[in-house]
Subunit: 590 residues, 2 copies
C-alpha cells in the first residue's frame, strides 16, 4: 500500500529548503507552507486512492491499439476525469488561462507522488504540461487563447513530437516536411516514441511537432515547431473534422505498459494541418526552453519509483519471517538481518538524497525565473541549469538501482510479477532513457554547463557547499561524522572538476570519455551535502514531538555517508585517470 | 545474431588457466585441448542454430499450464530432442552410467554458451545435472542403476525440490512430511519455485525432494532427501502409474518465461511415493554437496547473459548512425561516441573478468576433487570453496549491470521488447536470487569461508596474486599500468580483509553489515588480477597471427583497470567503516 511521504516532503520543502527567497517573488506572493501542505495532502489522497489501485492492473492489461485509435486500460478514463475535475492539470500553469502558479519545488513534490503511485498514468499530464509550457512561452496570443484554456483545464491533452526513426538523440536528422498553405502548413512525416500520442481519455490532443519547412537550412537550424491538433478546431472553438494524424502502432515495451508509446503518422493524403509556433527555424530553441523542467520532472520520476519500491520492500521485510540474525533465538522478520537492513537503508538514503537534490534544483529554477533581483535571478538560473543534467542523470540511475534492490529484498518473490516489485524495475528503466539518456545528460553537463562558463557555476556551488558544511556544529556525534564524510565528498568533486577542466581545455573527447562517472560523482556528493544538512537540521528537532522522524533522518544520512558516499573515491579516480583507456581503444577493439 | 566466443574461451582455458595440473588427474587422462575445442565448437553450433532462434519466441510465448501439465513453447520439445541426441546431458556426468567426464572449467564454458543463447532452456538440463550429481554422490548403487542411465542419456529430467512458502533461504522451516511405508515413504507437502518441475519434454521427471520424516528432530538436522519420480517405475524399469506429483500452477515472472517455475504438490490422497536417499536426516548435507557446482553454474549464467547483451549492443552500436563525436564531420555510428564506447568496454571487460574468475574457480574444484596429491587437492578445494560465493555473487550482480548497459546503448530502442536487449535485463535478474541471493552468498563468504579458517585460504590467495602480479614484466606500457592498478586492488582487498577479520572476532553482526560490499570487492579485485595476467599473456602474442585479438585483450584489461577497478577504493572504505551505520539503526528507523 503506497503512502505519500508527506512528513518527509514537508521536511524538505519547509525545513531543508526553507527558503524565504521565494516569498520575494511576486509570482508566489500568495503561496504559503499551509497552502503547500494542503496541496500535498490532497495529492496524496488522490494518488493513494485512485492511481495506485490502477498501477498493476494497468501494467497487466496495457494499452490497446486498433486502427480506430488507442484504448487505455480499465479505469484510466475515469481516473483521468477525476484528475481533471480535481484541478490537477492547472497546477504550475499560466494563471492567465486558468492555471494555478505554484513553486516548481512544490510542483515536483506533487509530481513525485503521482509518479510513485502510477508512472504510466502520470506521463499523460506531464506531456500535456510540457506542451502547455511551450505554448505559454512561444506561441502567439491568439494561439494561446485557442489552446491553453482547454489544455490547462484538462479537457484536452498535449504531446511532444520530436523523434523519428533516424533522428533520436540527434534531432539535426529530422525529415518531417512542412509545406506552407495559406495561414497554415501541411505536414508529412512519421514520428516514433510519442508518449500518449493517441488515447481515449479526451476528445482532442494537441501535438507539438518538430518539422522542416521546405527549403529550410539543413541541420538543427532548419527545424520549426508546429501545433498539430488531432481534431481541427472551428473558428468558434468547436471541434471539427479529424486532422490527418494517425497512430500507426504502439510499442511493446519493457515497462509503463499503460502508457501508449505511439508511432504517429502525420499526413497520409493532403497533409496534416499544422500551425507554426513563433518564428520559422527556431523550433529546437523553443523545445530546449522547456527541456529544463522536463528533465527535472524525469529526474523526479527516477526517485519516485525508488520511493515506491522502498515502501514495498520495507513492508515485505517487516512481515516476512526467515532465518536467524546473530543473537536471535528463532526466525525473525528479515528486516532484522543486517544485509536486508543495508539494502533498505541504501534504498531509503538514495531516495532521500535524490529528493533533496531535485527539489533544491527546482527552487533554483523558480528563483531563476521569478526573483525580482537580477543578480539573485541570474545566479539561481545558472545553478539550476548546472544541476538539471545531474538531477536527470543521477536520480534516474539511482532509481534503477533502488528498484533492483527492491526485488532483491523480496528474494524469490521479487522475481514473481504478482509481488509488484518487478514492475518498478521495468517501469523505472525508461527514466534513464527518455528526455535524453544519461550519456546525453553527461554531455550536456560537461559540454554545455561546465565548459560554457569554464566551471564558474560549479566553483560557486563547491564553495557554498564547503562553507555550509564547515559551519555545521552539533552535539550529536553522528551528525559530525556525516558532515566530515560529506566534506570529503565535496573535496573529491572539487579535485575531479579541476582535473577535468584542465584536460578538456586541450581535448574535448577527454571529458566525454569520463562524463557519466563525473555526473554520478556530482549527484553523489551534492546529495551528500544535502543529507548532511538534513541531519544537522534534524538534530535540532530531537527534543520535540517528532523525535522518531528526526532520529531516522540522522541515521539515514549517516548510512549514506558511510555506505553510499564512499563510491566517490572510485568515481573521482575514474574521472582523473580513466579517459585514455577509452580513447586509446578503437571500434575494432570492441 | 549470437556467436559463441570460441577464441576467447580458448584463450581462457588454454592460455590463461593453461594448467598442466589437470593432466595429472587420472580422471582426465584422455582430456586434451583438441578435445576441448571440438566440444566448444559443437556447443557453439548447437547454441547458435537451435537455441538462440527460440530465445525470443520462448520469452514471448512462455510456458503454458493446464490441469494436465505444462506445455513448453513451440520448438522447445524438438530442441530438447536434439540436445539429448547430441549427447549434451552426458557432459560432466558419471562415466559408469554413460557420462562423459570433462573438466569442470570446460563444462562451465559449454554452460556459458548454452546460457547465452537461451537461459530458460538451459535451466532444464542444469537442474537435471544437479539431480544426477546428487544421486551419483549420495544414492545407493541400486538407485543409481535405476535412475542415472536414463537421466544421463537425457531420456528423463531431474529437479531440485527445496523451497516451501515459509521456507526459502531458511530451509530449517521445511514442513513437507514423509511417512514410512514398507521400502518407501509417502510424502505430503507443497513446494514452490521448482524450476522445470513439470513439462512435456520427457516422459518422466525425477524430483529430488527435501522432507521431514515423522518424528525427526526439528530444524535442519531433521531433513531427509527423497527420490520422487513423476511416473513410478516398475521392477523391469518400465514406466508404471503416475505418482501423486502434481503441478498446481506456474509463476508469472519477470523473465525466463519459457522455463516453468512450478508450485508442486506432493501427495493429494495416499501420498507421493518417495525413496530415501542415503541416511535419514542428512538431506541438507547431501544438498550442500552439490551446492558448489550449482552456484558456480549460476555465476556463469550471470556473465553468459552479459556476453549476449554485449554482443547485441555492440552490433547495434556499429550500425546505428547518430550524432557527431568530437572531430567528426557528419553523423557516425554511435560506437564512435566516447560514452558509448565506455559502456561497451564496461560490458566487455566485466564479462571477461567474470569469465576468467569463474573458469579459474572451476579448475580449483576439479583439482580439489581429482588431483592425486593430497596437499594439492586440499589447497585447491579450499580455494575453490572460497571463490564459489564470489563467483555466484559478483558475476551475477555484474551480469545485471551489463545487461542494463546493453539497454542503455540502444537508447529508446532498448526499452522496446522487439529489440531484444530488454529480455536480457529481465532474464538475468533471477541469477542474483536463485541458489541463494547475493546476500546469502556474502554470508557464506564471511560466516563460513572466511571465519572457518580465520582467513587462511584468503591469505594464501592474496599472496599468490601479489607475487604473480609483481612478476609481470612487459615491453608494453599499458600492460604495466594494468598490472599496477591490479596490485593496488589486491592491496585494498588485503587491507579490508584484515579489518574485517578483526571486527568479526568480536562481533559477527559487524561482518554481515558489510558482507555484500566485501564480496563485490573480492570479485572486482580478483577479476583485476585475472585480467592483468591476461594482458601480460596477450602481450606475448602481439607478434603472431592473432594480433588483433591480443591487442583487444590488452585494451580491455586496461579499461577495466582504469574505469572499473577504482570502485575498489569505495568498497574497501565501506568494508572498513560502514558497519556501524547499519547496526546503529533499528527497524524503526527504516
Amino acid at each position: 500500500m503506497y503512502r505519500a511521504p508527506l512528513r518527509e516532503l514537508r521536511f524538505v520543502l519547509e525545513e531543508l529548503l526553507g527558503s524565504t527567497a521565494l516569498s520575494d517573488c511576486p509570482q508566489y506572493a500568495e503561496y504559503s507552507h499551509e497552502l503547500g501542505r494542503t496541496i500535498l495532502e490532497e495529492a496524496g489522497r488522490f494518488a493513494e486512492s485512485v492511481l495506485e489501485p490502477l498501477n498493476r492492473s494497468g501494467d497487466q492489461e496495457g494499452a490497446h491499439w486498433s486502427p480506430d485509435g488507442v484504448r487505455t486500460p480499465a479505469g484510466f478514463k475515469d481516473a483521468y476525469r477525476q484528475f481533471a475535475e480535481g484541478g490537477w492539470p492547472q497546477l504550475g500553469s499560466d494563471p492567465r488561462f486558468g492555471g494555478q502558479p505554484v513553486p516548481q519545488a512544490l510542483n515536483n513534490a506533487v509530481q513525485e507522488i503521482l509518479a510513485s503511485a502510477n508512472l504510466a498514468f502520470k506521463l499523460c499530464p506531464m506531456l500535456t504540461h510540457g506542451a502547455v509550457h511551450a505554448l505559454s512561452l512561444c506561441a502567439s496570443q491568439a494561439q494561446q487563447q485557442q489552446y491553453l484554456p482547454k489544455m490547462i483545464s484538462g479537457e484536452w491533452t498535449g504531446t511532444m513530437v520530436l523523434t523519428e526513426p533516424q533522428a533520436g538523440s540527434d534531432l539535426a536528422l529530422i525529415r518531417t516536411r512542412a509545406i506552407p498553405e495559406g495561414d497554415h502548413f501541411r505536414l508529412f512525416g512519421q514520428k516514433i516514441f510519442i508518449t500518449w500520442g493517441e488515447h481515449d481519455l479526451t476528445e482532442n490532443t494537441i501535438h507539438m511537432v518538430l518539422a522542416r519547412i521546405d527549403g529550410a537550412p539543413a541541420g538543427t537550424k532548419g527545424i520549426s515547431l508546429f501545433i498539430v491538433p488531432k481534431v481541427l478546431i472551428g473558428p468558434d472553438g468547436s471541434l471539427g473534422e479529424r486532422n490527418e494524424v494517425r497512430c500507426a502502432s504502439i510499442e511493446h515495451k519493457l515497462g509503463i505498459h499503460a502508457s501508449p508509446t505511439c508511432v504517429m503518422e502525420y499526413g497520409h493524403d493532403r497533409g496534416a494541418v499544422g500551425y507554426l509556433v513563433g518564428e520559422a527555424n527556431h523550433g529546437l530553441e523553443y523545445m530546449f526552453v522547456m527541456m529544463n523542467t522536463a528533465r527535472l520532472a524525469v529526474g523526479v520520476e527516477g526517485y519516485a519509483v525508488g520511493e515506491r519500491a522502498f515502501q514495498r520492500a520495507a513492508e515485505y521485510a517487516r512481515t516476512r519471517v526467515q532465518g536467524k540474525p546473530p543473537g536471535a533465538a528463532s526466525a525473525t522478520p528479515i528486516i532484522e538481518h543486517p544485509d536486508v537492513r543495508r539494502m533498505l537503508l541504501t534504498m531509503k538514503s538514495c531516495t532521500e538524497a535524490s529528493r533533496a537534490l531535485a527539489l533544491y534544483a527546482g527552487l533554483q529554477l523558480d528563483l531563476g525565473a521569478h526573483h525580482p533581483d537580477e543578480g539573485t535571478r541570474r545566479a539561481a538560473l545558472e545553478r539550476g541549469e548546472l544541476l538539471i543534467p545531474v538531477v536527470k542523470g543521477w536520480c534516474t540511475e539511482t532509481g534503477n538501482e533502488t528498484a533492483a534492490l527492491g526485488v532483491q529484498v523480496h528474494g524469490g518473490m521479487g522475481f514473481v510479477e504478482e509481488a509488484g516489485a518487478a514492475q518498478y524495475v521495468r517501469d523505472v528503466r525508461i527514466t534513464t532513457i527518455y528526455e535524453g539518456t544519461t550519456g546525453i545528460q553527461s554531455n550536456d553537463l560537461l559540454g554545455r554547463k561546465l565548459a560554457r562558463d569554464r566551471g564558474a557555476a560549479m566553483a560557486s556551488l563547491l564553495s557554498e557547499m564547503t562553507a555550509e558544511l564547515r559551519a555545521i556544529e552539533s552535539a550529536v556525534p553522528t551528525v559530525l561524522r556525516t558532515r566530515d564524510a560529506a566534506l570529503q565528498g565535496v573535496a573529491l568533486l572539487e579535485r575531479a572538476t579541476r582535473a577535468l577542466l584542465g584536460a578538456m581545455a586541450t581535448d574535448a573527447a577527454h571529458g566525454l570519455a569520463v562524463s557519466v562517472p563525473y555526473l554520478k560523482l556530482c549527484g553523489l556528493t551534492i546529495g551528500g551535502w544535502r543529507l548532511a544538512k538534513s541531519a544537522a537540521i534534524a538534530a535540532g528537532g530531537l527534543g520535540g514531538a517528532d523525535r522518531a522522524f528526526y532520529e531516522a533522518k540522522i541515521h539515514t544520512a549517516h548510512f549514506y555517508a558511510r555506505q553510499v558516499l564512499p563510491q566517490a573515491l572510485g568515481l573521482a579516480q575514474i574521472v582523473e585517470g580513466g579517459a585514455e583507456s577509452v580513447l586509446e581503444a578503437s571500434a575494432e577493439h570492441i
